[in-house]
Structure formats: C-alpha cells, structure tokens
Point group: C2
Amino acid sequence: MAAAMSPMARDPKAIETAIASLAAKFGNRLVTSRAVREQHGNTVTWIENQPPDAVIYPQATEDVQEIVRICAANRVPIIPFGQGSSLEGHVNAPYGGVSIDFRDMNKVLAVHAEDLDCVIQPGITRKALNEYLRDQGVFFPIDPGADASLGGMAATRCSGTNAVRYGTMKDNVLALKVVTPSGELMQTARRAKKSSAGYDLTRLMVGSEGTLGVITELTLKLSGIPEAISGGTCPFPSVDACCNAAIMTIQTGIPVARIELLDALQVRAVNLYSKLALAETPMLFLEFHGTPAGVAEQSERFAEIAAEFGGGPFQWTTQPEDRTKLWEARHNAAFSTFTLRPGAKMIATDVCVPISRLAECVAETQRDIEATKLIAPIVGHVGDGNFHLTLLIDTADPAEVVAAKAFNERLVERALAMDGTCTGEHGVGQGKMKYLLAEHGLPALEAMRAIKRALDPDNIMNPGKVLLPG
Amino acid sequence: MAAAMSPMARDPKAIETAIASLAAKFGNRLVTSRAVREQHGNTVTWIENQPPDAVIYPQATEDVQEIVRICAANRVPIIPFGQGSSLEGHVNAPYGGVSIDFRDMNKVLAVHAEDLDCVIQPGITRKALNEYLRDQGVFFPIDPGADASLGGMAATRCSGTNAVRYGTMKDNVLALKVVTPSGELMQTARRAKKSSAGYDLTRLMVGSEGTLGVITELTLKLSGIPEAISGGTCPFPSVDACCNAAIMTIQTGIPVARIELLDALQVRAVNLYSKLALAETPMLFLEFHGTPAGVAEQSERFAEIAAEFGGGPFQWTTQPEDRTKLWEARHNAAFSTFTLRPGAKMIATDVCVPISRLAECVAETQRDIEATKLIAPIVGHVGDGNFHLTLLIDTADPAEVVAAKAFNERLVERALAMDGTCTGEHGVGQGKMKYLLAEHGLPALEAMRAIKRALDPDNIMNPGKVLLPG
C-alpha cells in the first residue's frame, strides 16, 4: 500500500504528462493561464493562494471519469471546484494538480415533486436551483451565506439559517454519484427515502471535501414551499437573553424555521449596509413556516417567550417583501461587516457548541474580543449552537494577524472544552486540520486515515485537506 | 493484509483459548451452556440458528475493550447482542465466536434536557428509555415494532412509525462510543448538534451492524413531548387511494407524525388480536403532533384530503387512552397476524421505494401474493415508501418455504426495479447480503468492502454479515 497520508511531493514531470493527455482529450476546456489558475486557489481566507497547474471544465460524468483516470495514471492531484466560496482553503492546490471546475455541469436532471426529491449536477448553485424549482411548489432549504454550488455544499457538509428546522446537507442528500479515485462511477444509494442496506456511503461522502472521490450528481431531498411564512426581529437586553429565549423556543417544541442571533455590532453593520434602522442591541431574526393560523400561533408564542427574558417587542410580518428584505440583510451580514472597517480582510470563524453552553461560549468570546482589541461582530445559528465571528483584519499588520490567529485558536479550544466542534458548517479544508486530533481523539482520527488510505491509496483526491499526515 | 472478506474458517483451538482467557477474567459472566448460546442465535427469521461458542455480559466499556482485545489476539469472532429482535440473522454466529450481550449495560448516563440529548448505554430498550425520560418532557421517537435495544437499533439503522416526521436512527444519533477491532475506544463525534469536522464516523457506524466495531455508548437526539397529539383511523376504498392520500398529505406540507397503511387482511388480524371493530378495508392510521389548535387543523386538513380520494370518515381523537389503544394495536400488527394462521412461522419482509411508486409496488405485490396463494398481510410506513408483509409460513412444508422465498426474491427485485431498496429498516444481516450487489452496483460494494478491510482487517467483527466475500 502507498504511504498515503505522507505529504505528497509535487511531481512536475507527472503533472506535465497528465496535462498533455488532458489537453489532447479536452482541447480548450483545459486552461493553464496563470490568472485562471490563481482564481481557482482559495482567497476567501488568510491561507495563501496555492493555484493548481491546470483547470478543466467537464461537461458530463464521463468527462470526469476520463479526467480522473488520466490523473490517477500519473498520480496527479485532483481538486474539485464549485463556486470557490469555501472558507478554509478547500480548493487550494498545495501539491499542484488539476482543478475540476463544475461550471458547465449545472443542470437539473429531474424533479420528482411527488417524492419531494430532485436529481442535479454539482455545479448548480442554491439560488439557481430554487429559481428552477419555484413553480413546482418545492424548495431546497439549505442556505449558506454564499450562493455556493450544491456539489461544494455536499462536500463541506454545510448548512445555514434553515438548519434548525430542515437539517444540514447530511440530512438533505439522498444519494450521490461519485467518481472514485480509479475513475469508476459509484452510486452511493437509491432514491428510496430510507434504507438499511449496508454502510452509509452517502453520509461518508457528504463532508469528505473531495478527499474520497469527485461528486458528479446529487439526489436531493426537497421540501414543500410553506403555505405561510412569518418572520421578524426581536431585540434583547443581552446575548445571554437571546440564547435563553432560543433554548426555550426549541424546548417548547415551536418548530422555528430560522432563529438567528446578531450581536449589537453586527446589527450596526447590517443597518449601515442594508439601510435598516434596527435597534443596535443583541437581536434575534426569526422565521416560522406553516399554515396561516400556525405561523401566527408560533409567532405569538415566541413573543411570550421573548418577553419572559426581557426581550421584545417581536415585530413580525407575513408580507413577503418585508421578510425578503430582512433575510437579504441577514445573508449579507458577513459582507456588511466591511462597513465597520473598510479595506480590512474578513476572516470567518465557525465553532458550534451544545446549545446549553452557547450563551457562556459567546460571552467568553466577547470578553476575549474586547481584550484582544479586535473588531469582530457575531452572527449565530443559535438554534444549532453554531456561531460565526467575522474578524476584520489588517493583513498588512503582522502583529494583528498573529493576534487574530491566536484568538481563533482560543475560540476553538473554548468550543472543544464545551463539548463542541471546531467547525459547525464551514468544513476542515486546510485551516482546521490541526484541530481534528483534539476534537476527535486518536482512534477516530486513525479510522478516518484508514478510510482515506483504503479508498484513495495514492492520495490523489484533494491531498493536503482534512487529514494531516499521521 | 489479511484476506479479510474471505469466509473465515471456524478455529476451535483459538476459540478455546479465547474462552479460557475470558473465563479467567470474567468468571460467571461468561456462559457457555447450550441453552443460553442457542438463545443468542437468531430465531426471528427462517435462517437456521447458529449459536455462538460463548455469551458474555460486560458491565462497562472497559469490559468490552478487554473482551475485544482477548478475541482479537485469538482472531475469534465477536457478535454484539441487544434484545435479539433483529429480523435478518444479525446475531447468528456462522463462524462461532463470542456473543457480547449488553443486558447489564442498560443505564441512562446523562440527560441534557436543554440540549435535547441524552447519553445512554447500548442495552437499554426504547420503552425503558422513554419511561425514564417521560417526566423531563422529552422523548426518543424511533419505534421499531419490537422493544429493541438502542445499541441494536443504531446498528441496524432502524426506524418505525415516527420516521416520516422524526427521521431514522441515522438522524437521531449524535455520537457513539465504539470499541474498535483492536480494542481501542473511539468517540465518533461530540455533543454539538452539527459539525463539519471530518468524515462522518457516526453515520458510518449507524447501520454497520456490528461489522466495524462494538457500540458501547450512544448520545441520542431527543424531541420535546408534543403539547397535543391527535390520532385516528381512516378507511379507504383501495390501497392505491391510501397511498395517494398519503402523498398529497406530505406534499401539502402537513407535518404528519405517523401515517401507516394496513391492508384489509392486516386490519382483520388487528381486529381479531386487539379486539377492535375497524372496517376491514385498506386503512391509514395517523397521528399529528403540535399545539391543540395545530393538531386540530392538521386533522381537519387530512380529512379533506382523504375525502378527495374517496376515503373517510377520518375518526380522530386527542384522548390519550384511545390513541394508546390504537397504536398498541398497530405495534402488535405483525404479531397479530398469527390469528390468521395459528401455528405458522411469521417471516417479515422490508422493502422501500420512492413514495410515487408505492401504490404500484403494493398492488403488484398483492397480485403476486394471490397468485402464490400465500397468507401475507401488509403494513406500511407509507410516508417513507416502506412496507412490510408478514408471510405466514408452514415451515414443515418445503414447497411452501420455497414458494415464500421465491416470492421474497421477486419482491426485492420489484423494489429495486422501482429505484428502491431491499431493506428500509430491518438491515442486511445474513438474509439480504445477496441483494447488495444488485442494489448498489460493484463500485459501491467494493468501497464498502475496502472500508471493512481497512477498519477490521482480521474480520473478527460480526463476520458473515452485511458483505458477502468479494
């Protein structure tokens, strides 16, 4: 067996041979210009840009199989690429290789409205998919901040604001087609809503970040567009009060669709960027899905809970325009933070803790921000215990970068000490590899490494991501 | 690497050595009497009893580690055992070895009501767990027919009548402690509600049927006990009408908690066994969870849908006694079938198809039953497309056994042809191994085998289950 997890040496000769073969087969769908290659290295993080040696644009699963076979024959790394919106260096090419860009594989192949599922190619984005689905009365609920590709969303096991009600990608992918490291086509499951037939390859691939194979087709679970939606904002005297109201809402069994925390600084950024006039105090953004009577009842019950914790008034509406404006503001929350420090680099953090520890974790983190003198507003998927800080960094100031990185380390350690995870939804990529041992312990990490070696013995699938060499 | 998936030869000398070591360590918690060993071979199926060489009763995770280390040193098979209620030969010992019975590891270790989770040992049964949880306002929703152990339920990725609303075991296990084949203790995840930190070992272990390690602790997601529950029965003119009403109910977004199909013959058995007087026609049993106003609204909306398909009246109630009686009757459905043919052996089938194909699959299956002259009532978790026939067989009549087995083969082929699965919730065990190639195709099956070899190179973990030798 190859020493799979040991660092790969970049092999210029092998790469040259593979690129020549790919060019012969794919012509101008293979691109090696510096600009395009650099666009395909990750820049949405503080990890340096590590461009691939070439970028290729397949049009069908068979193309991907051919690409993988050529790369495998030359032991050349393969890096799947969707929209490039991942946050931990997932699409960088630390050992060179070929970036497979799914731009041209963005079709909806089938919608089975009766079964509440659809079959798609990996390059389609979440907004384009929902645009396509809208007139059939169904939607796909997972909504990360970026308009990411569905292939990338599956690869990182992402989620978003709807996860408290609809789950994450692991709950909404029914089956995958995956090109294996030897170029074979694997179907991980069938279209039945549930199965006990063998190991759960679907869930193994979801979140494996392209390190076990290349996703070329997804069967997704859909949800019916709710008959009625109500939503609104509710100010609170403290982050603690926000968290406690969220806990009680969920414990009471209110099937809240979205329950999002913004700290006072984040509200200020949202006001500045989205031209809103929200009270600049810790706040929950909420949404309820159901029947007209149901969403009214849920909204009223939540308002009562909020009042118990000193929050309110809960201003809610069922008007689509008002809700859309609000949630656009929420989705732009990370981007809006640049208003707080124009020109700064935005770095996203992503820990997740049991919800009972959330208030404490956020409070300690806020004290840490203050002590470190960072500018870092907070948004949280509070129903899941997951929160992000957007660190606004002057990357030209080495001392500030060092301080910010040390802050992020403390944040991860704090989350782990509270039985949490170093990443709730962004994934490991290059940025979080060093935390996996502390999070999972050696036996689990060794199991992951054994699986990686078993399925990708030559370590050609997105090497240098997820698992540090053992 | 050991030729892991090749059939193991039973090695009497190694087994003798291991048993002597185990006896020295565990005294009378190791039992080798014939009666106890035979009780631990599977008898809830038509697969022959294959007793282990010994049964051992650990009291702690450390005991399990010690047992596994002794067995591993001697390459002796290990078969985890919960309640023995699995239906496909999961607990048989085709190559001998040691059955680990979790009878004494049945504690609730922690309940975190704020986080809606609990930590338990694998031997506790679903009824005992819910008894324990009741006064804390939370419950664990997964309800297979039997009062199974939670460890076994996780191992088979089981579900039950609530899955349409609450998901299956894959959706309700947050984390596991697993003793690996080398006796190390692996924690698959932390208590955070979601994570993107590496490969999803939790979901890999759920449904792996003891072939990758031994579960010794489970962290389960809990749900709040609904404020109000309504439930009832609704007769329909045909199975087809039942299925179409179920499809529309789910598409409309009614968050039905249970929607169960019984065919006319099954209703007759339920009437006989549970002393009910239901109309002996295809019928849906339903339950709705929510607020008092919410469940009333859901019930009324369902009644309208039922009427559209010629069904009704939908008789529903929120009275706990009436509901309990109804769902006890439903849970006893399989057992009640013996009234249709006293003395017969009951064999359970378990296919699952996309819901849009369910009516067609059931109708073809009913024609097949008629042609084969079998007695086989049907119950279905119709919201998931999953249905069971209880075949009532005179096992002393070889021709009938042959006919029944051939019928089951056709049933599986029919489900696979409709993009379904050979098992929706019972698992593979010994009985369904031969269907996995047709269901998954060779690349997926080879990936499963590679994972098995990587994690259990000596094939000591429940050998002869799930994966046929390659």
